[in-house]
Amino acid sequence: MSLLQVNQLKKVYTTRFSKQQVEALKSVSFEVEQGEYVAIMGESGSGKTTLLNLLAALDQPSGGQILLDGTDLTKITQRQISAYRRANLGFVFQDFNLLDTFNVADNIYLPLVLAKQKHQVMAAKLDKLAPRLKIDGLLEKYPYEISGGQKQRVAIARALITEPKLILADEPTGALDSKSTDSLLEIFEQIHQSGQTILMVTHSIKAASNASRVLFIKDGQIFHQLYKGDMTNAKMYQKISDTLTMLLSGGQ
């Protein structure tokens, strides 16, 4: 069975002042296998963010279901949802979402502290994780003292430290320069190699060309998908680019 199953997911927004309904997601279905690295691409307003919010259980769908490892996210009660997210999902955001009042180590510890883990256990986990993400020299620093690329690596460490089933990344390279982007994508590749399942929403063709599969979403529907297979990054880049051109020009 797939790790993540999304079946006919639907989301309708009703604006407060008019009766008019906006269909953000019409009917989205896809599956993500254990250990897969999937990128979701689409234009602004295509429904990417809505989809990600639903997968992150930050929002309730209007129809359909999301099964993560067999558990229906839409059926989890509000009271348990935070604990569930903490235990099973890891998040990486475009703007890092690091707290200025914590140093790097404490930022990474945050989800573990919320899960009431012992300090020794947390420290052991961080010791293993930090060298892999090349942040072992930064642990005592504060977010404002480190670069954007470093911040994003810290955010990844925070997402990984709970050993989640699925990492959800929202435009992780959006705020980074090209050099930092390259090194960040390397890290994603590396954690993918170690068996971590990743779902990434992105605008960046470069970022998407690293993924093992790319889903294209348009007007609230999955429009197309590409498997990387044995293709090189460069080849994959070309294919994604072609697909996007087709998408933009409205081709069928």
């Binding site: 200025d100 009042t101 404490d106 504060y142």
Partner: protein
């Protein structure tokens, strides 16, 4: 010009969240100053010199406080406008345009503050007049007074302060560079360092202040040491709020098993930053609350003690004392002749040696070289049996070391020792009047000994007795006493006498302590206003700080409920710390204040305890209301 006026008005409206409280504070200050000044210059109060003196002091305190406080309020508004001003600058307004705009804004503020402030002041001053007349029990009619000089002075004060604020703001604008201003907002903040030295200074000075407050028992020392203790405690408060709080939190943070608990994790790190940015503000709130508590509790206590004190000091309506006991007969004849025309009773006359003694167990020492604890001192009247019998129409017959004793506090022993001699108490006296003119201490003793013994008491040989006449009467005594004075002074070359009239005593007490209470309430109002504004400003700044914190914490897996709880507990600690500390301060100051009050009035511990409890209760209620109301702004900002 029209353009600037419109721009200025729009600015003020758009910045209402910051500007409105500032404007209100300015209006409030204007009104307060006008009220106190209008009372000061009110024609009908001019005869009450101690009231006028207190009003003068109050007005001066308000001036000093208003300058400091309104400049603070202005700097808070200015800090939060930086971004807007730099935006105008970038959009093409030159600095000189900004300067004109800010001048117009200040002008609008001045017009509003002076107009509304004076209006409120004129209306409220009539009410305050009634209150002050009531508190001081002055027999005055209600007259509406609007002294022009007060209006002029209030306007001048506010114009001066607003001018200073404008100057400060202009300097800020002229020095500023728009790029810096825009960039400033996104700078991260360093975690504060532990300042061991400051923490130690704080601990030592707070400890010393507390120690002084609880160890001093001599009331004369208490009054000087009071200010030393206040300064030490203030220094300690500032040091401990700024450095001590951070040292404590960082100490807790260093304990990993404590710090990495869900409950403590966000709280400790959050509070470290909050304290770094706001410690001085919180210390100010704390000091202001303490000021309110001390001022109100002591003035209420003094005021409520007036009646007790008058009753204690005046056993009868009228007393006349001469310091030459040989005038006894002369004075008595004059008084008797003059009071024939009025109805009176409880007439007495008494010749007694008046002294003060330290009473310990059954022994009295008449050696007031060093005052230790005021509670152990008693005012003592010593008189001979024949004087007592004559003055009170009695027929005591004492032998040897027998004495009769009067005590107002229930002296229980059957003997008493003084001047190297032990006396047996043969009976007790109940007439309060026996303490005539020597009853200004909470403890009173009168000793009646037989005539031979009194002649042998060594230390009385160097002093002379006083002679006092007293009686009760409902009649108008003023003309009678005037005649007595005239007769007495014309009959002799050298006279020294004193008059004690219960109504005058009472009127004096009400005027003095009523004025003090009025000023106490008035200054408390102002301190409270300052504390409220600081609390409001802190809620605003905390709201903006926490805005994205809420979001991030939710993103990394806290439920909305958890985030709310975590931040709420920080905010509660943050805002209630000053209140708790101020109550602790008051607790340590309690004894010292009682000691000082002893000097002013016959201390009634119970009265002061009640007054303190009432003040604390009232402050807590008001504080909670203010907190709840201002917390709304906080949540409005955070929820966005």
């Amino acid at each position: 010009m029209f353009f600037y006026t419109r721009l200025a008005l729009t600015n003020l409206k758009n910045n209402a969240k910051f500007y409105l409280p500032y404007l209100l504070s300015t209006i409030f200050t204007t009104a307060l100053y006008y009220i106190i000044s209008s009372l000061r210059f009110s024609e009908s109060l001019q005869d009450h010199s101690s009231l006028i003196a207190f009003l003068d002091v109050g007005a001066n305190v308000i001036v000093v406080f208003a300058v400091v406080f309104l400049l603070y309020a202005n700097s808070f508004v200015a800090k939060n406008r930086k971004k807007q001003l730099s935006l105008y600058n970038i959009l093409g307004m030159e600095k000189r345009h900004l300067i004109v705009m800010m001048m117009v804004e200040t002008l609008i503020t001045a017009i509003l503050a002076i107009g509304l402030g004076l209006l409120a002041g004129i209306v409220l001053s009539q009410l305050m007049y009634l209150i002050i007349v009531n508190l001081t029990q002055a027999s005055l009619e209600f007259i509406i007074t609007v002294p022009l000089v007060s209006m002029y002075r209030s306007a001048l004060l506010i114009l001066a302060i607003l001018g200073l604020s404008l100057l400060a703001n202009l300097v800020r604008v002229i020095r500023s560079n728009p790029i810096d201003l825009l960039a400033q907002q996104s700078q991260g903040e360093k975690e504060p360092k532990t300042k061991i030295f400051l923490t130690l200074v704080g601990l030592v000075s707070l400890g010393a202040g507390y120690y002084l407050a609880i160890s001093i028992t001599d009331p004369m020392a208490a009054i000087t040491m009071f200010f030393v203790a206040v300064l030490l405690v203030m220094l300690g408060t500032y040091c401990l709020f700024t450095a001590g709080s951070i040292a404590l939190l960082k100490g807790l943070k260093a304990n990993k098993n404590y710090y990495y608990l869900t409950r403590h994790f966000t709280a400790i790190s959050g509070l470290i930053y909050r304290m770094k940015q706001n410690a001085v503000g919180l210390a100010n709130i704390c000091i202001l609350c303490t000021c309110v508590l001390v001022t109100l509790s002591s003035t209420i206590c003094l005021y409520s003690g007036i009646e007790d004190s008058v009753q204690l000091q005046c056993p009868v309506t009228q007393m006349i004392t001469t310091y030459y006991a040989e005038d006894q007969e002369l004075l008595e004849n004059i008084v008797k002749k003059n009071i024939e025309s009025i109805s009176y009773d409880d007439y007495f006359s008494i010749r007694a040696y008046q002294t003060i003694g330290l009473v310990q167990g059954t022994s009295i020492t008449f050696d007031p070289d060093q005052f230790d604890n005021f509670d152990n001192y008693a005012t003592i009247n010593i008189l001979s049996q024949s004087d007592y019998n004559r003055g009170f129409n009695q027929d005591l017959d004492l032998h040897g070391n027998e004495i009769y004793l009067y005590s107002n506090y229930g002296y229980k022993e059957n003997r008493i020792t003084f001047a190297n001699e032990t006396y047996q108490i043969a009976g007790t006296i109940t007439q309060k009047a026996i303490m005539a003119d020597n009853s200004y201490s909470p403890k009173q003793l009168a000793i009646v000994v037989n005539d031979e013994t009194i002649a042998n008491i060594a230390f009385l040989k160097n002093s002379s007795p006083k002679f006092t006449i007293g009686f009760n009467s409902e009649a108008d005594l003023e003309p009678v006493i005037e005649q007595v004075e005239a007769d007495y002074t014309s009959s002799k070359e050298k006279v020294l006498y004193s008059l004690t009239n219960i109504d005058q005593q009472r009127a004096y007490g009400y005027e003095l302590y009523g004025s003090m209470l009025f000023i106490g309430i008035f200054l408390s109002l102002m301190f409270m206003m300052a504390a409220v504004l600081i609390i409001y400003n802190k809620q605003l700044s905390q709201g903006y700080e926490d805005q994205n914190k809420f979001e991030i914490l939710q993103n990394v897996g806290m439920s909305q409920q958890e985030v709310k709880q975590a931040i709420q507990s920080q905010i509660l600690i943050f805002f209630f710390l000053p209140l708790v500390v101020s109550v602790i301060h008051l607790g340590f100051a309690y004894k010292l204040i009682l000691n000082v009050l002893d000097l002013f009035l016959i201390g009634n511990t119970n009265n002061y305890f009640k007054a303190t409890l009432i003040c604390i209760g009232a402050l807590v209620v008001i504080y909670c209301l203010v907190y709840r109301y201002t917390a709304k702004t906080y949540y409005q900002i955070v929820k966005k």
